[in-house]
């Protein structure tokens, strides 16, 4: 849980953040006080790549030209050799941050005894019309520092590093054009309104800025043509204005007028930043190897697209009326995966290729000593049968909302259905991708049932041609029978996460989300009660499942709980109360990581995390729909949304 303002000492060391004693003790390898918290980061982007900016004005993470390419700044995972671009006040200053309302334009306000200044960070947008009259770089970051009152001294350090900090770069001063360096096939240009001195691969300056003055910086990357070098004149400010308006137009398009409007729009904007516009893919997070356990080894590369998130993501986009994004995402799901169809991998690269082989970058310290830093993801070879249900459910939602499934899409869906018919009874790795082998996961069975159920519904409504409905119905019944017989533990009075076991998992809350069980059924109530009893922390947050080595609570699981309550598993007040509690765990910019450390309330894992933000949007939508008496999750079997008066106590 965050305060909005904090004090930094920006002298010669990176900021001393709000690290608690416990975190200091847990961190190993590097001095914990040198590190920003994960919550200290804000994100900017252009739907192709993203950068993370810390509260002290240090840009600590950037991969160009796209999310999953090697970094040029990686201080996020190694303060010494990762590379950074800092624009920070010299000496102590209080810091407040915000996004310009309904946009992804980040503002960091520095204040000390002598004055205040605002640092504006963005990756600019441009209209098609502007390309007709001016040339613009392919990839660019704009940073503008404006002094409001008094005067402040700022320190500027521009220290890029090649390929995840592996090598320093050779900075060249090119007269009035600025600084340039070359990495691989691309050229990077830094244009600055301040003269920078180059020392040992770092361009730096100290400069006083006085009321009314501005410093402007443009950092760009070009790969396939001579670079375009934009001027730092008035057009620089025009581009910031245009980008702000473009983002606001997008953010204000969201059709949601409920109580949590600002946090829902912020989540939608974060989700948009994690989308890759050229293909329609949406990545899980913009970073790699931010730890799920401080000082631990649960550090993964999330810069790829997980099909697991498909159903929730489509629901969020459709119900907020972001049709273009929903359509692009669905097309990506069904077309980018064509090379492997009817089989589906659990994750793909931005263009639907196999994600890279997992490698460990041993020369990096890791975030607060959390080693190793990994790139690529070994989960690419795992089997997760749930992804078929998630993709089919996403397509069904799209169609039930009025979208058109063309012949190719229908063919792909039937291919998935036929694959499920043949393979639903196999053990798999399951939704959480443990590396301990395959088991018969209830969640995977649930999603196989979902695939069958949705395909039958699509066919019955005439939205899917030539589907073997009777066969799908038979398999659907067989899966239902197996789940009801073998995933139900009579002694525990709960469904369990693995057939014939006594294990619990928060994903069991989704039995009602997908419409397998009615929210108010005795079995669902028993399962919810068991999850609360065994997987809830004293703070009321949920872990994924019980495990020997502790990890943070999994944020999306708590949002699933909100949805469960909002759909009739509890009262509306209970749903509001839990949602309100969860909102306190977002950072000062409204962003969430994958996990929340229950003891400190701080974010853990890769950041920001699409799955969490999608969960938040879904929970807010379900609360709002219940308040308005609207039908929830209309794509599910209708029985699952019916509540008796006693079940809906609000």
């Amino acid at each position: 849980m965050q305060d909005n303002a904090s004090i930094y000492d920006c002298r010669d060391n990176p900021p001393v953040s709000r690290a608690t004693k416990m975190e200091q003790e847990n961190a190993t390898g590097s001095a914990a006080s040198d590190w920003p918290l994960i919550d200290d980061y804000g994100i900017i982007g252009d739907c192709r790549s993203a950068a993370l900016v810390a509260r002290d004005g240090s840009l600590d993470w950037l991969c160009w030209p796209r999310f999953d390419k090697p970094s040029i700044f990686a201080a996020l995972v190694d303060r010494e050799r990762g590379g950074h671009w800092r624009i920070s006040p010299v000496g102590p200053a209080s810091v407040k941050r915000n996004y310009v309302p309904d946009s992804n334009i980040l503002e960091t306000h520095f204040t000390n005894d002598s004055g205040n200044a605002i640092l504006t960070d963005l990756m600019p947008s441009s209209s098609r019309a502007s390309h007709e009259v001016i040339m613009l770089p392919d990839h660019e970051i704009l940073r503008k520092l404006t002094c409001g009152t008094g005067e402040l001294e700022f320190k500027i350090e521009f220290s890029p590093r090649e390929e995840y900090g592996r090598n320093k770069v050779r900075l060249l001063q090119c007269g009035k054009l600025g600084l340039r360096f070359v990495v691989g096939r691309g050229v990077y240009w830094l244009r600055s309104s301040v003269d920078l001195k180059i020392t040992d691969g770092c361009a730096h300056a100290r400069v006083w800025i006085r009321a009314g003055e501005s410093l402007r910086f443009s950092f760009s990357y070009t790969e396939q043509a001579p670079a375009v070098l934009p001027p730092l004149d008035a057009s620089f400010d025009d581009r910031i204005d245009y980008s702000t308006k473009a983002w606001q137009k997008w953010g204000r398009h969201a059709v949601y007028d409920g109580e949590y409007r600002d946090t829902v729009v912020r989540s939608a904007l974060a989700l948009k930043l994690l989308s890759y516009a050229p293909s329609g893919a949406i990545i899980a997070a913009a970073t790699t190897s931010l730890p799920e356990q401080l000082g631990g080894s649960l550090n993964w590369d999330y810069r790829y697209c997980w099909l697991r998130d498909a159903s929730f993501t489509i629901r969020a986009l459709l119900e907020l009326d972001y049709w273009d994004e929903a359509e692009d995402f669905l097309e990506w799901l069904l077309h980018a995966t064509r090379l492997t169809q009817p089989k589906l991998r659990i994750l793909y690269s931005l263009y639907g290729d196999k994600a890279p082989v997992e490698r460990e970058l041993e020369y990096l310290s890791g975030y607060r000593g959390s080693r190793p830093v990994r790139i690529g993801n070994a989960a690419r070879d795992q089997l997760q049968l749930d992804v078929y249900g998630e993709v089919v459910d996403a397509a069904a939602q799209f169609a039930f909302h009025g979208g058109h499934l063309d012949r190719e899409m229908q063919k792909a869906l039937i291919g998935f259905g036929d694959y499920v018919v043949k393979n639903w009874d196999q053990p798999d790795e399951g939704i959480w991708e443990p590396r301990s082998g395959r088991q018969n996961h209830t969640h995977s069975r649930l999603l196989c049932w979902t695939a069958m159920d949705r395909l039958v519904r699509l066919a019955e409504r005439g939205l899917l041609q030539r589907a073997p409905i009777e066969e799908y119905k038979q398999v659907s019944n067989a899966i239902r029978h197996q789940i009801e017989q073998r995933a139900w533990n009579e002694q525990m009075q709960s469904y369990v996460s693995v057939l014939d076991s006594g294990e619990l998992d928060s994903s069991l809350l989704l039995l009602s989300w997908y419409g397998f069980e009615q929210v108010g059924s005795p079995r669902m109530r028993g399962t919810y009660s068991a999850i609360r009893q065994h997987l809830s922390t004293p703070e009321g947050l949920l872990v994924r499942y019980a495990r020997a080595d502790p990890e943070g609570t999994f944020a999306v699981c708590s949002f699933w709980e909100v949805e469960y309550l909002a759909m009739g598993g509890g009262s509306l007040d209970e749903a509001h109360q839990l949602f309100g509690q969860l909102v306190k765990y977002q950072n000062d910019l409204g962003l969430y990581g994958e996990e929340i450390d229950a003891n400190t309330g701080l974010a853990l894992g890769n950041f920001p995390q699409a799955f969490t933000h999608v969960g938040l949007i879904g929970a807010a939508l379900s609360i709002d729909q219940r308040e308005k008496g609207e039908r929830q999750l209309a794509h599910r079997p209708p029985t699952a949304t019916k509540h008796t008066p006693s079940e809906v106590s609000s």
Partner: protein, 161 residues
């Protein structure tokens, strides 16, 4: 001079030149994109510039091939290696004279001396176009040598016939 042979040989050699330059750019050997550089003489719009530039470059190459053919005829020497030599000389001229004149001639190109402004924003090529990648001279020499060699070979065939 065999005009029909020149037209066909010049066209095919120019296509080969464009393909080689484009391929070397695609393989990451250089960021020099001649169609884009030429096209931005007439429009700032990136995609349109590439199309215009490609057409202009094609016509340009065709016209340039006349000079090659004139040299072949003047020296009474038509073969692939002489064509390649002419191509190398041509490339040397482009990389040295052409590239150094470019910031002054190109309406949208910035220069290290004068900086940039609202219209002049394109990165200048520098000596031997090295700003566009250290392997740029290699790709330009190879592409123009191939241009001359193909022109020499094909024009030689018409002579032999």
């Amino acid at each position: 001079m065999n005009w029909t042979s020149w037209m066909l040989s010049g066209f095919l050699a120019t296509l080969a030149l464009s393909t080689m330059l484009s391929a070397s750019q695609g393989f990451g050997l250089t960021r020099m994109n001649l169609p884009y550089l030429i096209g931005t003489f007439v429009t700032p719009q990136r995609e349109r510039a590439k199309v215009y530039g490609f057409v202009i470059h094609l016509v340009n190459g065709w016209i340039f091939s006349i000079f090659y053919v004139l040299v072949f005829e003047a020296r009474h020497m038509v073969n692939w290696w002489f064509g390649a030599l002419l191509g190398l000389a041509h490339a040397l001229m482009i990389l040295t004279v052409g590239m150094s004149l470019m910031p002054g001639l190109h309406p949208r190109m910035a220069s290290e001396q004068h900086g940039l402004n609202a219209t002049r924003q394109l990165e200048p090529p520098g000596f031997m176009a090295l700003n566009y990648g250290v392997r740029t001279p290699i790709s330009v020499f190879l592409a123009h040598a191939a241009f001359g060699a193909i022109l020499g070979s094909l024009y030689h065939l018409s002579h032999a016939a």
